[in-house]
């Protein structure tokens, strides 16, 4: 096998979903027997190929429904493509959706361990980083109260702190930086820079173009599931803004 240093490779990846989803065995049987199956599909990603080298910071932009989140999930190995192949190398810290893998009835502290376990971290690892996670999230006063009492921003802070506490080769951020106040965002920024300095790969999905400009050297522009631009962030974002504006 050919050796490669890329953190993420997508080879002609398409992801499609059925327009009409059959939800029951009963319906499946009936439709198969009377040959009335609606097999039309919608594309979430259409023939996407890309390589992201280790240590790169890449922003992904595009309108709603362009396939940005799907792309991130394929890269994380959560979604198996309908066509093509995805390869990722190294450990991952995926931050894909807020509140994922949190138990509202458990306290913040208990959630640190549960969420860490979901990310494949050991109890010892979480124990070792516990104080740091709590401090970074700035939730010292609330850490022993149930998560249902937290605001969205507080959950986001906790999620970011947990996922980034243990070193990872690749970090995936899906609209995570939009929440949280200015001081927390500054700390996030600092931490992402630290990861980049250490040689980690960072993928950011965001509608906030200044954030992408600032964090990412390279930007990929998606439209209707296909790549329409891939290059230096300033260039791609300028083009995107021009087209959006006009």
């Amino acid at each position: 096998m050919r050796m490669s240093d890329d953190a993420i490779e997508l080879h002609r990846v398409s992801v499609t979903y059925r327009m009409h989803r059959i939800r029951s065995l009963k319906e499946f049987t009936v439709r198969t027997v009377v040959r009335n199956r609606d097999d039309s599909r919608v594309y979430a990603l259409r023939d996407v190929s890309l390589r992201i080298a280790r240590g790169e910071s890449v922003g992904i932009i595009g309108d709603n429904g362009a396939g940005k989140s799907t792309l991130l999930r394929v890269a994380a190995g959560i979604i198996t493509p309908t066509a093509g192949m995805a390869v990722s190398r190294g450990t991952m810290a995926p931050l894909l959706e807020l509140g994922t893998g949190f138990e509202t009835e458990l306290s913040g502290r208990e959630n640190i361990f549960f969420n860490g376990a979901l990310l494949g971290r050991s109890h010892e690892q979480m124990e070792a980083h516990l104080e740091e996670i709590i401090a970074f999230s700035g939730l010292e006063r609330f850490i022993d109260t149930p998560l249902r009492t937290y605001s969205t921003g507080m959950v986001a802070r906790l999620a970011f702190s947990i996922a980034t506490a243990v070193d990872a080769d690749t970090i995936l951020l899906d609209e995570i930086l939009a929440v949280g106040d200015a001081s927390f965002r500054a700390r996030c920024d600092e931490r992402i820079q630290r990861f980049l300095t250490a040689g980690s790969t960072v993928l950011v999905v965001s509608h906030e173009l200044p954030v992408i400009r600032h964090l990412c050297a390279r930007t990929i522009w998606l439209s209707q599931g296909a790549i329409v631009g891939d290059g230096a962030s300033d260039e791609i974002i300028d083009r995107y803004e021009r087209e959006r504006g006009g």
Binding site: V13, S14, Y17, R18, R21, I22, R23, S24, L25, K26, F28, R73, V74, A76, G77, I78, I79, T80, P81, T82, A83, G84, M85, A86, V87, S88, R89, G90, T91, M92, P94, L96, E97, T100, G101, E105, F113, F114, G116, A117, L118, L119, G120, R121, S122, H123
Partner: protein
């Protein structure tokens, strides 16, 4: 396996290829990495579900206990004359059945419940089936302990063949795990499978000589009862407890083969369907 472990020690590579089933090696590696998650899920199954109730952990046991009691009261009079120590006869298989039925039901619920999670975080998809089987096994061991107490009180002999029981339990657990894997996968695609299984389980139970001795079945119908794989897997649990004998080589062979077939078949179905879970949960 060995090779991939060596490679992953330097850099972990993960490929997802369209149309390819889950690879056993990859799944095992992922499971190993998520061992702590499995422990947490089992812990949650056993405790948090009942955290707020007064009886706490005992709730987990209460449901099968009540059922046991009802069956005992109803049927011990019916079968008393032909079956000495009916309570031991019945319970020795019934607790095995409860393990099977509860685990299968629980797994389907767990996969549905954790669906949103599987869409957003990469966890080995079989981890919910594994943790549900393990928590089922822990409940089974507790039920067994209770059964021994009941046997002592009722004066039923505890025989040295009990030492064989761990082997029986491993076979039973394998059988259950395989069926649970297949049903978990199918129920992701078709929501009505859960209800169908709920309806089928009692039927299977009554077709298995759990609450009645096989001797009440007319001779000419018995060959049909011999086609039921569940009967063999449960028989090897009852033999060492109630009869104080080791299962016959034939029964044991069939039970082991059925269990292996169940795991192989279960994994075949699961590994082919799991890559498409994300579109259906």
């Amino acid at each position: 396996m060995v090779q991939s472990t060596v490679v992953s020690a330097t850099i972990l590579e993960r490929r997802t290829v369209a149309g390819e089933p889950l690879r056993l090696g990859n799944e095992l590696r992922d499971l190993m990495q998520h061992a702590h998650l499995a422990r947490q899920l089992v812990h949650r199954d056993l405790t948090i579900r009942y955290k707020r109730s007064v009886l706490g952990f005992l709730w987990t046991m209460l449901h099968p206990l009540l059922l046991m009691l009802i069956f005992l009261v109803v049927f011990s009079n019916v079968f008393r004359f032909q079956t000495p120590h009916y309570e031991t006869y019945f319970l020795s298989e019934y607790i095995g059945w409860i393990f099977f039925a509860q685990t299968v039901t629980h797994v389907m619920a767990a996969v549905a419940w954790n669906g949103p999670l599987m869409k957003r975080i990469r966890v080995p998809p079989s981890i919910f089936t594994i943790s549900a089987t393990i928590s089922g096994l822990i409940n089974l061991l507790l039920s067994l302990a209770m059964l021994f107490v009941i046997m002592l009180i009722a004066g039923a002999p505890l025989r040295p063949t009990l030492l064989f029981l761990p082997v029986s339990l491993v076979v039973l657990a394998m059988f259950t795990f395989g069926i649970a894997l297949a049903l978990a996968a199918v129920s992701v695609f078709f929501a009505d499978v859960r209800e169908m299984i709920q309806a089928a389980l009692p039927a299977v139970m009554y077709l298995t000589p759990i609450i009645y001795p096989i001797s009440i079945i007319p001779e000419r119908w018995r060959p049909f009862f011999k086609l039921n794989p569940v009967a063999y897997v449960l028989e090897i649990v009852r033999d060492p407890i109630y009869y104080g004998i080791l299962p016959t080589p034939l029964t044991m062979t069939i039970a082991v083969m059925v269990s292996i077939a169940s795991v192989v078949f279960g994994w075949m179905i699961f590994s082919r369907l799991a890559p498409r879970f994300h579109a259906h949960v």
